[in-house]
Amino acid sequence: MSITVYVPCDSSAVSLGADRIAAAITQEAQKRNISINLIRNGSRGLYWLEPLVEVVTDAGRIAYGPVQVSDVSALFDADFLHGGAHTLALGAIEEFFYLKKQQRLTFARIGKTDPISLDDYLDNDGYSGLNNALKQTQADIVKAVTDSGLRGRGGAAFPTGIKWNTVLNTASEQKYIICNADEGDSGTFSDRMVMEGDPFVLIEGMTIAGLAVGANQGYIYLRVEYPHAHIALNAAIEKAYAAGYLGDDIQGSGKAFHLEVRLGAGAYICGEETSLMESLEGKRGLVRFKPPLPAISGLFGQPTVVNNVISLASVPIILDKGGDYYRDFGMGRSRGTLPLQLAGNIKHAGLVELAFGLTLRELLYDFGGGSASGRPIKAVQVGGPLGAYLPESQFDTPLDYEAFAANWTVLGHGGVVVFDDTADMAALARYNMEFCAIESCGKCTPCRIGSTRGTEVIDEIINGHEISKNIPLLRDLCNTLLNGSLCALGGMTPYPVLSALNHFPEDFGVTDTTDAA
């Protein structure tokens, strides 16, 4: 009987050589006349151990990593196909500390299954949520999502059920479901992992959303920087159509839902929902004024649900196990789980899905193991390029939307980027302003002009030029951006800039005599 071996097809694993490992294992097995069944799975999200190879044995799935091509022959010699001892052996993967301590709901299948095998998906609870939804009224589906307490995982944390309810109650011949897969925040990769590692869960979530609000067309707006996700999504969509999970008559229900992937073109602003819709309509990605809300007048002027990948991918388990099941995880008004992404200068970079409530410090040290460089952690940026930098004194903040907001920080999409003590916070603040200038859509003046002037003022400060005059000028400018911008790009760039200045004034050349305040 052939032995099953898993080597991830996830693009981060591939970026570390997973394709070459897969080829080397196949070749070595042929050379030794051993029959193996090599499956390309998603990543478990233990990126410091990628490429991570798993073998199915009587004692469960045994992992080895990080595997290099030069290790393959020795692994065969050590009989890794039967879980043999080797310096790269990690034991049973399900028991590995990083995974065992997690609460994987949205990521339940990722790393276990072949992402584009519909059979694998169905064998692992796939489409149970849709099957339940097909037996319910539209209002009941929306109620389950409302009861779950699910809030938009893209960053804004707006209650998903309320958004769906507005679309459901807005009469129209045509409605749309849009998946915002323009995951542009540095330090975030959970959307990518879902699309590459379990694309059917996103398709199922969007189909349920379509049934719930009465939309028969969905679009996944995917960033062009994710070519692997594009291939996986298209392969899964094709299979879903062939098996009657998409199309004019979903599983004999008489209800229709069609789905198409559309590519963005390298504009960060298109992750803002109204800019995204302009882009889908074939225009420049200029931000729209709100109101009208997209739920009332969205894509092509029709009622539209716009949800992030993780929000939609969390819907199937809610419909499968019930809103209460999901709501029982979490704290306060942050219900369910959040897939956190540990990135930057961190020893154990990876994906950590947990109920809300853990502190940042526990995440950084219990999971992350401290900095990759071994130096002290100086600052952590949470929530992408529009998120604040947290100094050590804020590491005990619980990972909860409200607790973060109370600190003038944001949890956003759950990206956590770690910097050691070599980081220059003034240089980072300058980068954040420059990024805003590069990515501004140009519609509103504070963002369009303010970001360029902001970069110039920070340059003056970095060059030590009239610091006591330029710091108040920078603060004043940030105030204008904060209060006068049309969307979060201009409106939140002051978060990283001011948090860097407030917590690390010495990096800006501020001394007691120049006074940051």
């Binding site: 970026s15 540095s186 062009v224 990135a343 930057g344 970079a349």
Partner: protein
């Protein structure tokens, strides 16, 4: 058939295939860039006519998006991530090294037409920073040394 005629035929074929999609402009621009490597300025009138838009509108969309380009790229486009996670792991030094090794700045192409250099703001490979993309291939934990190896490998393929 002249090269210019062949380009126009390719452009026209992409327009004819995609123009009836709702919001067809971005899919058409992607189709043209996938086929030719860039969107030639003289394809703008044909796109405008196909979609009943003004040339200004089409030009405006092409110039809005960083990914679309109106000049032919080098044989290999090297994208270097400039975002925070990569900066935390030596991305700035890698950026500097890449510019020196290739002898070009961002948005430029080497004189031999082999490499174009572009910045990118996140490849979603943040757990393996710093990251670069060369053509369709993504590379993680790139050091100046491994950068040179990647570039040399591409040169040898040429």
């Amino acid at each position: 058939m002249t090269e210019s005629n062949s380009i126009q035929e390719t452009v026209q074929a992409v327009i004819t295939t995609l123009k009836d999609k709702p919001g067809a402009l971005l899919p058409i621009l992607h189709g043209i860039q996938d086929a030719l490597g860039y969107i030639p300025a003289d394809s703008v009138p044909a796109i405008a006519q196909g979609l009943h838009l003004s040339r200004a509108e089409v030009h405006g969309v092409i110039s809005f998006y960083h990914y679309f380009r109106d000049t032919p790229p080098g044989k290999h486009t090297v994208h270097i991530c400039r975002a925070e996670s990569c900066q935390a792991m030596g991305g700035k030094q890698l950026e500097q090294h890449a510019k020196e090794q290739l002898g070009i700045d961002y948005h430029e192409t080497t004189a031999d037409g082999q490499f174009s250099l572009e910045p990118v703001y996140c490849l979603g490979n943040c757990a393996c920073s710093p990251a670069i993309q060369v053509g369709e291939n993504i590379y993680g934990r790139v050091s100046p040394h491994s950068f040179d190896a990647i570039i040399n490998e591409k040169k040898e393929l040429a």
